[in-house]
Amino acid sequence: MKSSLVRQALILAALAFVPALGEAIYFRDKISWESPVAASEMVTVDRSRAWGDNAIWVDARPEEEFDRDHVPNALLLNEDRWNDLLPSFLEKWSPKKKVVVYCSSQSCNASREVARRLRGEAQLKNVFVLQGGWEEWLKTRK
C-alpha cells in the first residue's frame, strides 16, 4: 500500500515536470530578467552607510515616490527627467565621493539603468547600486 502511494506520487511529480520543462524552454527568452550587475558594482546598506559624507545618494525612483520620503540628502535623478536633473547632481558630485543609486526594491531596474548611464555616458567612476533598494534601507533606518 505504502509503495503504491509513493509510486503514484512519483508518477504525478513526473507528469507535472513535463509541462514545467516545456514552459521553461519556451519562455526562456520571453521574460525580461533584471539586467545583470557585477557584484563589485553592488553595495549593501551597511557598507554604504559606513561611507558617511563620502557618499552621494541618488534616488532613481519616480518623483512622487521621492517626494513622499527618501534617504536624507539624496538627490533625485531618474530617466523621466534625466536632462533636467543631471546638472544638479553633477554640481554636488566630486571625484572623491562614491555614488550610491537606489530604487524601490531588489526587483526594480531603475537604479541599474541610472548607474549604467552615469558610468557609461558621463564616465563616472565609483558608482554603486544599493542592494535591496529603498525597502532594504527602510529596514535599517534608525
Binding site: 530617466e79 527627467r81 543631471l86 553633477l90 571625484p95 558621463a122
Partner: protein
C-alpha cells in the same frame, strides 16, 4: 482499481472541458516610437477561449515608467479584450524592455508575463556627456564626441555654453561625427556649465556638462 481509473479519467475530462483560458494574440510587442514621442502604447489583445469566466486579480508593471490597464475585471467565455500598456519615454534612450505581469483566477495559467519592447531612436550619441577639471589643473581643452544616430543625418551642429567661463569649439570629423572641444578659462575656483547641443535640422536639444571640481581630476 476500476473505480480509481474512472475517477481519474473523470477529473481529467472535467478539467479539460470546464477550463477557463485567456488566449493572447501576442505576449511580446515591439514598438518603434518616433523621435520626440512622449509615450509608447502597446495593446495586448486576448480572448477567453474556455467555457468559464476569467477574473483579473492584478495587473502590475516592472517599472514606475509603465502603466497598464485592463478594460474589464471579468472576461466571460468567448469574449475579447485587451490590456493597454503605456510606457512613458521621458529621457530614456536605446532599447527599453518593460514587463506587465497579469494575474488571473485561471488555474491553468494564473500568471502571464507580457513584454513591451520600445526601441527609442537616438538622433545624437554624445560621449562623454560630462567633462571635468580638478581645481588647479591646467585648463586644457577636453573633447566630447558627437555622432549622428542610426537613420539620422546631421550636417551641422550648434553648441552653446551656459557659462562664458567655458568655451566650446565644434569640428567636423566626417561620417556624421563631430568633436566638441571644451575649455575652461581657468580652474582656480569651482564652476560649471551646461552645454546645449543641437543639430541644425532638428528642434530637439541634447545636453552635456562641464565642471571644475574641488578635487584632482581622474579622467
Amino acid at each position: 482499481m476500476r473505480t480509481r481509473i474512472f475517477a481519474l479519467t473523470l477529473s481529467i475530462v472535467i478539467c479539460v472541458t470546464a477550463r477557463a483560458e485567456l488566449k493572447w494574440d501576442q505576449t511580446m510587442i515591439e514598438l518603434h516610437p518616433a523621435a520626440g514621442d512622449k509615450e509608447a502604447i502597446g495593446h495586448f489583445k486576448y480572448q477567453n477561449t474556455g467555457s468559464n469566466p476569467v477574473r483579473f486579480k492584478s495587473v502590475h508593471t516592472s517599472c514606475g515608467c509603465t502603466a497598464a490597464q485592463s478594460q474589464k475585471e471579468q472576461v466571460p467565455p468567448g469574449e475579447k479584450g485587451e490590456i493597454t500598456a503605456t510606457f512613458k519615454i521621458g529621457d530614456r534612450t536605446g532599447t527599453q524592455v518593460k514587463t506587465v505581469t497579469v494575474e488571473t483566477d485561471d488555474p491553468a495559467k494564473a500568471t502571464m508575463v507580457l513584454t513591451l519592447k520600445a526601441v527609442i531612436p537616438q538622433e545624437l550619441e554624445i560621449n562623454p556627456t560630462f567633462v571635468f577639471w580638478g581645481q588647479g589643473e591646467a585648463p586644457k581643452p577636453k573633447t566630447i564626441v558627437v555622432r549622428a544616430g542610426k537613420d539620422f543625418q546631421v550636417k551641422h551642429l550648434k553648441v552653446a555654453s551656459s557659462n562664458p567661463e567655458f568655451q566650446t569649439k565644434v569640428e567636423q570629423a566626417g561620417n556624421g561625427q563631430f568633436k566638441i572641444e571644451v575649455q575652461p578659462r581657468e580652474t582656480s575656483r569651482m564652476t560649471g556649465a551646461t552645454l546645449t547641443i543641437q543639430s541644425e535640422d532638428s528642434p530637439k536639444m541634447f545636453y552635456a556638462a562641464a565642471r571644475v571640481t574641488n578635487a584632482p581630476a581622474i579622467q
